[in-house]
Symmetry: D2
Subunit: 330 residues, 4 copies
């Protein structure tokens, strides 16, 4: 065993017990090492002690990363609110929503033009037409826009319109896509995969960072558990854990995290109380006519109520909710 | 099918489609019905529409249940703090902790005398000696005490000392125990089982309520998921869900919910922001010497810091943190 | 750190790396050690290398445990079949089932007299009357009987009738109950908890073994996952894992493992192919009239078909299905 | 409510109960309907009764799909064995493995040229060089080859070499990739996502089928659960469920399903006993030197032993293990 370690340029330290021998391995270990050692005869278990992520770790960069998008700073003192419909459905629907969320104090407009759908027979988004509508809404409201990109060949197109590229939960381990957004100059928001560990999520961020793009935002949107009352179980603990392990900003998405509109406000407040740098919520002019995710979307009125509840909670943990982009609409 | 339903005193309404027929069943349905119907030939699926819990539901009792324990009201306007060591280890350890948590503003003293341990070879609690120490701490500090009861034959003993009986997560479906605490006059705090759905948890409460004891407190303490960074994944959404489905008070336990002391404060604040009626946290004079759960216990200093952070968060959601029992110690 | 270890009578071996120091700890470690060390400052992670269970481990006893129940040997060369209804509902129902499963080749009769029910409003079993019916069925068919015991105070009663005491999944961590069946002379079948790890399951066996009862049978009955098509996800890998880690026999229960009668046969065959020492299946004369678990119960005819499929699969992995107890009924 | 349904071209049938009204909806429902209805006021729950997948369902095509790859038929009477290394590491490694698995009776050679890796710092495969080595191995042994494709732009390249395109678990919901392999003429093996329900998995197959490619093979490779002893929990029940719901062939992958080489054989046998149309196993000349997944790879000798155990188990469920492609190597 020690010979094999030496072959690999590593050093092993023995701690011999009566029933087992522990070997502490030091040196510049590499990711494949664990599996190699596990496969050796006489090895019962191999335990990694060093963390597998680097560029995303607080050890590598102790100070918080802040990301500037227009007038909005993500990861700073202010709690940022991203709001809008799940999918862009029409100019009228998006414009009405953009105006309403802007008026209520949102900082960034969300909206999907390319939509991942579990079934091939459902609405998959308006594509470039949707992007154009988003851009028009930015033009009028001054709100920067965030939208999802699903495949490498669409990055150039989406980046032409979007201020932030979103990687959806289903694509968190689509490594070719991560590589390519890592080569882009745009900030990237990386949603946690439905069954991703926090470590895997940070390793996916590492893909983007290691290609040179250091503007990565993490987004907790719920994980899959046995509980069926909610669509997902929002892992609020992931928020302070990301802040501890990493310098990257982290956003809570209670709309996908719960799947029920009446749970969005309490979980949004909980996210901020736990230290989130912002929240992302779905808002729709008419949730019961929405083509996607109506059940988890807030009405304009419910969104306004949430925006009224947010500032005191942010203040109670030493943050504030900014006033939003100030560019005057024409 | 309709004949079988009639046999059972129920009425079926047909909605015939091209490929399937839906039968809506109304009448006084009973819990076994679903399985009976599922087992019939030609039945593809049976879906329950009515809720299986009654006494615990908001429909049965629209107004919040409040529970009075000494000077403390649980489920009312004030957020309640239960604090103390995982296990009573000695008079000195408990007394020091009781004084410290009282001084910091806690309302109720927690401490285990009978401890469920995964391994038979670990410390299983001091038993009645532990209860006596708890009672002495109440005598001095005026703090009511909460402690776990693990088996029906111990209820009488534990109830002689405790103000609130705790049912641990591992016993959430120990129905004989639920029946018996249901016959007791003491308030009962029912922890959510490690893999219990919210519906199963409310049905366990129903066991207690249906025996005549209406003083039930629910406690979210994390559920088991694939994530290994935390001991459990605290399901913060369960807090507003319980408040919506039920009139019973609900407490968040971030110590068991996360298993890491540095996550206790953010998740305690998140619990309150999401609408919890209180929190339960583990505090130990010397966590690295604790016989149980040291890694998730706060030091006195960390607990004081948490108690300073709590009031603004409670205020931000329209609650307040009470000043604690006022009985002067002799 | 080394000082604290010395205080605890242990020895630490350092492996210093550039970023981290690994300390290998040897000596007679105790279960609380991990938490103690985790709580110390500067400690990032504590990893247990030695296994926490002893009496149940293959290292402690290399040869397979076999358990004799009447003419039936569990854990030997023959694959054992336990069959019967979920709950005893009437003399007629149980007798008919006992005769049918005996005729089809079953070795042991199952049936519940005390039933754990998620809801307090459902059928909870016939109690001692059910036990008497079970005993009468044994009298006639010669089949030994297995039935569940739910609380310590019932053990004496149940043991008076039963040949094997069953501990249900919900009670796998009801430690007082484990202690007490550990003091009994009867074989105990311990079902895996709905969200128990294999290690926790073996530690629960350890409770029974450490009280002196060495006749423990493990039973895999499915674990809780996010999948909703089946009632549970049967963890077939647990079967060879138990055989590797432990000397105890292991049984597969595909009825609870899947919750659907049409999945029982394929999962029963899979259990045997993976090395199970037996299977437990629910059989009912009229599944669509069953008071409990009708949807997962086999009809007599389906059970006969399964019993015909079993011998070739057992033979294909070097086992055989015994001919069943030979005692002639009077 | 009925008005809204009529607007949507549907018909609702009322079943009015005392506390609730059930509305059975019939007509040509569409996938978005559920969310639309859930978002309406007064709606407590919406339950889908019709299945969301069509082309993959047994109702659509009652007879089994069989897929011909060279001399090998997948989904027919014979159980098919796919074997080879996780990743192609060198010509020597792959050739040695190809010869060994061919000699032992395998039917198809597996090997990864493009490898998804959790970390960006690990080996990501040899790319086209790996494909060329695979093709050379096919040339010599006559074994058709299966290899993963990770992104749409690689499909043409990979399809030039491979006989079967594999979609990995992480890409099960990479819909752009599914669309594109759906336009290819090659058979596609679709691995189940780590936390995909069976329904979602079939819907992903539906993406491929609906683009015109009807040659889809399903592969169960374990799902993510809380259990840490195994890498994943292999859901053996998924095998008979797919055979029931769908006409598509299904393969069991016990290497990824368990993550431990000593569990591969028992779970391979269990897969076949439960009705799998084949198995996929990792084999490596020297597992403790493997760059990927060494711990779960069989040695040549262990693979030979498995191949000796397989035929009797297949025979016990009425199947046989074919003799493998007969093309003579030059």
């Amino acid at each position: 065993m020690l010979a094999r370690l030496a072959e690999l340029g590593l050093k092993g330290h023995l701690s011999e017990g009566v029933e087992r021998t522990i070997i502490g391995v030091v040196g510049s270990v590499f990711p494949e090492l664990q599996e190699m050692l596990e496969a050796m005869e006489g090895v019962d278990d191999v335990v990694r002690v060093s963390k597998p992520f680097k560029l995303s770790s607080r050890e590598f960069q102790p100070s918080d990363t802040t990301i500037q998008v227009g007038d909005v700073t993500i990861g700073g003192q202010e709690v940022v609110v991203m709001a809008g419909p799940c999918a862009v459905e029409s100019e009228q629907q998006l414009m009405a929503t953009a105006r309403a969320v802007k008026a209520a104090g949102a900082h960034i407009l969300r909206g999907g033009a390319f939509k991942p759908s579990t079934s091939p027979y459902t609405f998959r988004g308006m594509g470039e037409d949707g992007l154009k509508i988003m851009a028009a809404a930015r033009e009028e409201t001054g709100l920067p826009i965030i939208t999802e990109v699903m495949t490498p060949s669409d990055i150039e197109l989406v980046a032409r319109y979007a201020d932030i590229l979103q990687i959806g939960a289903r694509n968190m381990q689509n490594y070719m896509l991560l590589d390519e957004v890592g080569k882009s100059q745009k900030p990237v928001m990386l949603k946690r995969g439905m069954s991703a560990t926090i470590e895997e999520w940070l390793l996916s961020a590492e893909y983007i960072l290691s290609q040179g793009n250091r503007q990565v935002i993490m987004c907790e949107r719920g994980i899959r558990t046995y509980e069926t009352y909610t669509r997902n179980t929002m892992d609020i603990s992931a928020i302070p854990i990301i802040k501890r392990l990493s310098h990257l900003p982290v956003i809570g998405d209670p709309s996908h995290g719960t799947g029920k509109w009446y749970l969005v406000a309490p979980l949004a407040l909980a996210s901020v109380a736990a230290g989130a740098d912002g929240i992302m919520v779905e808002v729709h002019p008419n949730p019961d006519h929405a083509l996607k995710d109506g059940a988890q979307s807030l009405t304009f009125e419910n969104f306004r109520q949430l925006m009224a509840q947010l500032p005191p909670v942010a203040a109670s943990v030493g943050r504030r909710v900014g006033t939003g982009p100030q560019r005057v609409s024409v």
